[in-house]
Point group: D2
Chain length 367, copies 4
């Protein structure tokens, strides 16, 4: 049976939208960018022209009222994700939403309820799960070639200067939902979680170390116990002069490492066998690829799932595990006690917002 | 005034003793190896011959009874350090003791009391404090050239196989005092403490991840808050296939990194300026050195202190800060709660032994 | 006295033109882009709009007839450089010409004659001479801090696939003047020459190793003797899967290395002291810079020279040394004998074209 | 049939002898060190004791007169290799001789004649041919997986200070046979030749750049054309502050690189695929090994050949190709003209000594 290309719309034409348009263009026979939505009509028009989208609409509501759309790419600010996603679901469209998918577990559970009611899906963009190295790592781990997982480290050490935070929506709980935990490190520890599976307990600290004009943390650190027994250290920072995104997995039979900044190819991964385990080198390099991790890779997996009628990745269930990790990290950092998976129920202040209780640092200077 | 060389004795002629003899030989006009002590007479004799020490004694007691010694290098197993050090002090000799200096805070405080009574000193070998890079880093930090310290990571990711742990004293609380926290990572986080100063709080986890024949942990992880506000992550492991000793300091004005294994030269350090702070490069490289960190470097500082009549480094006060950190890490890991500096008093089970309470893992297999 | 900004025109709006416009924008008070010339009116208009140039002209002749221009940036194909440069000089304008400045020594000498007649200058773009690292290296070498220069290597190992050479003007002597020697490696060995000074003798080989549709070489190698005694190896390639631009200078007191691809910052340089010469580290890093080598850096030097009324770099005299090196490399490769500086006079076939005699490889396949 | 271990003797117990003894010990069931010969009886005795060799002889002649030996390891100075090897052959023993095997092609051909007469073999130690990476590289190249070989570079950039050359036999044609070409770079370009096969033409330069007390060159450079069309650059130096032994092979389908100093494991090799040739990664890592290149690896191949009754590697024929390359490099450097394989016949001054004619540098200072 011939597959009609899915009709895709991009909502919000800021910087990240181009990555989505590019990803769609990489699958010309499977999906077509048919519409663009932005409150700013000039920006919407320019984007539509650049990417040859036939339709421009001033709002998602007007688009959905007049056009059939199979997949909506939500590239708007985080605080709008939940209501827009729900609107899409009710209109019969599936959603691919940029990270962070929502500002809270509460909002995420709202989306999940509507998804269940409507039978439509919401997937979150965590594109680093889909690079060749990440796929290979999970494959080798599941097949047992690496032995048991023992420990891991996950460092997001980035640098954002004062100019970056001069934008008024930056560094505020109500617009960004959090600091480098929610906005930067999430890419890396979501990948960590995709490899190591369910986490059991988080102990964390957080601080506003250098950027005193921001309300959120600018550094956080967590120790994590996973259900499979792995111990992991997670560090998130936007005050680190030498920038790197680095993950390390110490398995019984090999150390696997990824060191990149904002996207990786197989060249950014390395594997070091334990004594007597040289075979893992051959397994690792057997399907070497030069492709960079990115939105196109995830879109392939999303389209495959739509074809198969299953929930496209990263599914709401998987997304919830990562978002619950974020909430747990904040709660542990703000309360000083470990948090176990499942601890944060609907009545928990960290269920409704990531800074469930006030941050443990002094009042913020007037902007 | 002409300086008579200090008379030095080495007690215990196992593997590490050669590093001490080599260090003494590097200062021929300031110190002389005059005696060697070992229960194993053959080994003592061979060592004395190799390093041209005129006297061999079967025990420290017999040596001290018959010879004047200015400085005793204690290279015996950790469990003997406290009684031997006290014996030296009472005999009027100063002591340079290998790490870990004692098995507990209790023993360390015993030594400190006798040191105060006798006016003689005990210094602990933490040679990595004395390499050119570490000295430079502390100097630049104190002078303010690096700005405030924001965050740090300290990873001791080593690999010890089953054969290593086949020795019966390995991996047991009563003989080694602990696992990679006490025996391996201590080198690195002692260096961390020497740069960042007093620590305030430790939250930790520990596990026996892979070496099930050992009683102690084989992995530990800690989050540390320092008095100067720095947040740090510390990881200690003996189950990591790719081995590295890595420290990273993110200051406001630069990232300073050290990556080596068992000893470093300036080539193992790097510095990355924050935007606009290129001057730190010039400051860092102004006194570049090709010398490797090691016992000879620390011995220079010890002899300088003896000459000046002051407590040689690493002093008992500084040593206590590191040993209290070890005890706090274990207590936090075993009890699940943060530990603040000063929390572990004489009545605390972690004061008398590092595994104050039973380790949180299952019974150890018979050897 | 207030300096009126120099009026600059860009002729040829292909890919490299943007680097010139960007460089001009970096000096807003010293130079202004006042005109753009391109045979393709649409492309010229778009470029002028993008860079806010008030005037667009269909030809250099028409521009010079109607507007005063102080500095013409020649970004047209190499075969047009000589006639256009001479036209500028005769109209009273100075010229900054992209590399290769001409197709032959003959053309370059023609330009030099007109420059002398008119008192106007032609400078060639060799931007890598002007990065912070190159400036520092020449400074330390001249000051004697590195000792004598002993040997050097200069590798341009790039990769250009069949698609690259599908453009009809690529890989042909009459349009590009040569292969990777003339078009790619020239950047690197010009930097080499700027450090080591006059060359004395060249022995070379060249081959068409992999790209059989091109007429020129795709690999060349040369051994060079410099007047200061240095021996150097130069390799130029467009068939090398791992791409790198690498220079290495072995002085008595240090090895200085540069490893980059198409542009460098100080992070791409390293220095390794000879035993006992650790001081060079401090000298090297004393003025560390994060600026990337590029057109803006050279433009600074060009504007300084125009202000001072001197010949702007890279002067015709310096350019001739590099172009004579190219001709000598080809002559040695094609004739099998060493070529000394000065050997290639006006009657030499390699004076009029770089492939003075037929290349020593078989007939080229029809395009 | 049970194999009796071969009876091996080591002649000359200087520094390199231990590598041979260690290699023999790695094959306890295939070869036994039965005798040690050295003019210095004390040194011979100590070496025999250390490596448990039952027999010590003051000269090879006396040893051969009284004992049966299957394999003689010649570790004496280069000027003695030819007469000692011939003595062994006539006594019925096979020989494994350290590099350089002789001081001249003439001596090598003398050995070859006696080998043919006696049916006994002489193999030269070029241990880097036998590391896992070199074996794999030749295998992949021969199987065609890398495509055609296009260009190569081979850099031996080492550093030897004045103290090294203070030994009176260093740096003299009559005792060492040459400088870094004959004594240091030979390891690397022999490996190059083992991969690329027969060479056709060499053009070279050489100089005494820094060590004015030596008679030989301290730097040499060559351009080489191989029979398969590869162009290669070879650089040999003992005046390079940052030391490295680096080979690079640019094939059509991949770049293969080796960067080490005095011995390599698979970690010192890397492979970079050309676009579309990612499969070579898997082929390269399929049989990854942690073993270091060294004498033990070559000895395995030698013993295999003795078992099979064939000439053990590196055979006299292969050795001659490398030695002829050395002679050609010197002749080209000293005469200024290219040298082709086969050019150096028995009447050529470079046939009888590597400095066939006087070196092109000024008279040597008195020692």
């Amino acid at each position: 049976m011939t597959q009609t290309p899915y009709r895709a719309a991009i909502v919000g034409t800021g910087a990240i939208a181009a990555a989505h348009a590019q990803a769609l263009r990489a699958h010309p026979n499977r999906a077509t960018l048919t519409a663009v939505v932005d409150l700013d009509a000039d920006r919407a028009g320019a984007f539509a022209a650049a990417w040859q989208a036939p339709t421009v609409a001033p709002s998602l509501t007007e688009l959905l009222a007049s056009h059939d759309v199979d997949l909506v790419h939500l590239c708007t600010p985080p605080s709008t994700h939940a209501p827009l996603a729900i609107e899409c679901l009710r209109a019969g469209a599936n959603v691919l939403v940029e990270k962070p998918p929502t500002l809270s577990l509460s909002e995420l559970d709202d989306i999940a309820r509507v998804s269940e009611e409507t039978g439509r899906h919401v997937a979150t963009v965590f594109q680093h799960r889909f690079g060749a190295g990440a796929v290979r790592l999970r494959g080798l781990a599941v097949a047992g070639h690496l032995g048991r997982s023992l420990l891991a480290t996950c460092d997001t050490l980035w640098f954002r200067d004062d100019a970056y935070f001069a934008a008024p929506w930056r560094g505020r709980w109500e617009t960004e939902g959090g600091g480098p935990t929610m906005g930067h490190g999430i890419h890396q520890f979501d990948l960590l979680l995709s490899v190591l599976g369910p986490w059991q307990q988080v102990t964390a600290v957080a601080g506003r170390q250098a950027r005193h004009q921001v309300h959120t943390e600018d550094v956080s650190m967590a120790l994590v116990t996973f259900a499979d027994g792995t111990l992991a250290s997670v560090v998130n920072s936007v005050v680190s002069p030498r920038q790197v995104s680095a993950l390390r997995f110490d398995f019984e039979r090999a150390t696997v490492e990824l060191s990149h900044l904002y996207g990786y190819t197989d060249d950014h991964w390395s594997i070091t066998p334990a004594p007597g385990c040289g075979d893992v080198k051959g397994r690792w390099y057997a399907d070497w690829s030069a492709t960079e991790s990115g939105h196109a890779g995830q879109l392939t997996a999303v389209l495959d799932a739509l074809d198969a009628g299953t929930a496209p990745p990263v599914t709401l269930a998987d997304t919830r595990r990562t978002m619950e990790f974020v909430a747990a990290l904040y709660r542990s950092a703000f309360t000083g006690a470990p948090v176990r998976s499942g601890d944060i129920g609907p009545d928990d202040p960290f269920f409704r917002r990531m800074n469930g209780v006030d941050a443990p640092w002094e009042g913020v200077r007037a902007a």
